[in-house]
Amino acid sequence: MARIHRRNFLKLSGAGALTAKAGGMAAILASGRAPAYAQTTTVHLLRWNDFVPACDQLMRQKLFPEAEKALGIKVNFETVNGNDLQPRITSAIQSGAGPDIIMLFNNHPHLYQASLVDLSDVADAVGKDQNGFYGISKGNCSADGKWMGMPMAIIGAMNAYRSSAFAEVGYKEFPKTWDEYRDAGKKLKAKGMPIGQALGQSFGDPPTFAYPLMWSYGGAEVDDNGKVALNSKETVEAVKYMIAAWKDAYDEGGLAWDDANNNRAFLSGTVCSTLNGGSIYVESVRKAEQYQTADGKPMKDDIRHAPLPAGPKGQFGFHTFTSHVMPSYSKNQSAAKELLKFMHAKQNYEQWFTTAKGYYTPGTASWEAHKMWDENPVMKPFAIAGKLGQTPGYKGPPNAKAAEVLSKYLIVNMFAQAIKGTSAEEVVKQTDAELKKIYGA
């Protein structure tokens, strides 16, 4: 066997590498274009960790690979905790670098308006194609006829409740008024199964509960003229109701809950009802064997949905809204817009929407009649979530000031503070003063 010396080996392998390199270069030169990796645009998309994990999987494994092929781009899909989306967009805008598309909740796009790309061309085309946007979509994502965000979907907020438990205490149907709800909850709490309500500082369930409760008693942060009008006897009444009902009927741990806690509590059978998106039910269907009632039946067959009860001034709702925005620092704006168009093309959006099984209600009207809504009567109430419900800031518009109030959790904390022991009158007065600092006196 011929011995190969170190020097010879180096010479040989060096020559080989050179040849290969030359061939590669020649090939690139011959083709007359740069190698693919230098040419591909990468679109970085930031969304939350979906409460319906199957939706994330669909995007990651099917929709985005298809988009990459169809559009000739690369998609960098990143997910974070929903409560971290705002910190992320703030730091991205301040540093002028970050994701090309960012998901936001509710009217938060108004907060970042000055740093967002106008998405009117994308939104107008989708609106035209799909029977127009609901008012809630326009309110949360547009101002002065311009779209600063592209509506993605509404997460309808309904009470998920255990029908058998309510029947046991004499409520064949879900309570219609707050007083009935408190009565039912009181009886169920005595049986060790209170109402569960998240009232911590979290983006979804706490505000979608606190705002409608206030509205249904006639309270509102501003009046019809946009002047701060929180400090009213109506708001005080709503807060007083909450103080008393919390002790009587609610799981008192709820002050520390975020959007995930109540799902876990409900699915483990410790609470009888909770305001939530459809994710509790969707999860109970997906893992029917894991989630069972105390007597060993699938919990999914016991779960029903109902809107929040009515107060003296009517019945109100506030549904969590989701959209995508594109910060103006993005260097890939046209590619990112193409990706948004791809996501909203009917055949693609439909796959995502049906995967959510009703957890997401589209922001355009044409989907109301989709056959998916007939698959499962329990999810049917969510079909029209887009038509109902007010936006934060009601009776005023959901503008940047209303977004600041929401983002600071002022209304949520008003109720939480009162439950903690501050008197209703005092806490409403304090919150009113805070609102005036934002809206101007």
Partner: protein, 307 residues
């Protein structure tokens, strides 16, 4: 050889002579640190001051508003609660960390089997990434699934679950417990190092003279350990006062702001809501208080050392 060398010195470039000058050399050696401090401490600090006197929001540079943000803070009930929370949190945890840390250090300073292992294990809470261990604590205090509640319930100590993180006072207690748990090893190890510099001769001599253990501690160990103790307390106070991770993970400042500290409230307004100037003003409000504490402690340390 010496002559040649001397000759080259005469003709050497001025750079070399500069470095032979002690003042220049010192400056050159300090330069990297100065640059680092300037970039990562002084610049952000100045930037914070500039932000705090404008009405900057995310994406909008803002205009000069003087002390407007601070006036706003002065009428913000949440801010007063934040100040109280932070002072309480720092004071209570520091006392307990010092007492428990000192106790642990005294125990570890004795000879026993497996001393090296025990010393290593003691450090664990300090070594584990805070966010990770705090998540574990969060589950232990969880309103629905608390293992603490379950254990106490099984042992018939309680008959209904304790609402750890949902009750304002208990939530404060919870974060205080976690902070103490995390901080005791730092005190213990630092004080142990201090204890080991104290010559055993002194203690032995005192023992021969008939001093009891408590007297030996009070008249010999404690005075000699005091300088180290003061420095450790100083470090701890600064860190605890500006604490963020434990509260952010455990309660997010809730319920209803009951556990907000300076850092978490500043973060919520500045980064969470995008009100950069208001966030900066809150962080900056921490500075005079901390500055005062540090000056008082440093003066005290100097007095102790001179004595």
């Amino acid at each position: 050889m010496a002559i040649i060398a001397a000759g080259t010195v005469v003709g050497a470039p001025p750079r070399r002579r500069l470095l032979e000058d002690e003042r220049w050399l010192a400056m050159m050696l300090l330069l990297p640190t100065a640059v680092l401090l300037g970039l990562f401490i002084a610049y952000p600090f100045m930037r914070g001051i500039v932000l705090a006197v404008t009405d900057a929001r995310v994406g909008i540079a803002g205009e000069f508003v003087g002390l407007g943000n601070f006036e706003r803070l002065a009428s913000d009930p949440i801010f007063y609660q934040v100040v109280w929370n932070t002072v309480l949190y720092t004071a209570v945890t520091t006392v307990f960390k010092l007492a428990l840390g000192l106790w642990l250090a005294l125990l570890l300073n004795r000879s026993f089997r497996g001393k090296a292992y025990v010393r290593a294990f003691i450090l664990l809470p300090f070594i584990i990434p805070t966010v990770l261990s705090t998540f574990a604590w969060k589950w232990m205090f969880d309103p629905t699934f608390s293992v603490l509640n379950w254990t106490m319930y099984q042992l018939s100590i309680i008959n209904r679950p304790i609402n750890w993180l949902g009750d304002g006072d208990l939530a404060m207690l919870s974060i205080i417990i976690v902070n103490i748990w995390r901080g005791v090893p730092f005190f213990a190890i630092s004080l142990l190092a201090g204890l080991q510099t104290i010559s055993p001769d002194l203690n032995e001599a005192a023992a021969i003279d008939g001093a009891k253990p408590l007297q030996r501690f009070w008249y010999i160990t404690w005075p000699l350990l005091l300088p180290v103790t003061m420095v450790v307390v100083l470090f701890s106070v600064i860190q605890t006062f500006a604490d963020f991770q434990i509260v952010y993970v455990m309660t997010g400042g809730g319920p209803a702001n009951a556990t907000h500290l300076f850092a978490t409230y500043a973060y919520q307004l500045g980064v969470g809501t995008g009100l950069l100037s208001q966030g900066a003003a809150i962080s900056l409000a921490m500075f005079p208080i901390l500055f005062l504490i540090v000056v008082v402690q440093l003066l005290y340390i100097r007095r102790v050392e001179i004595r």
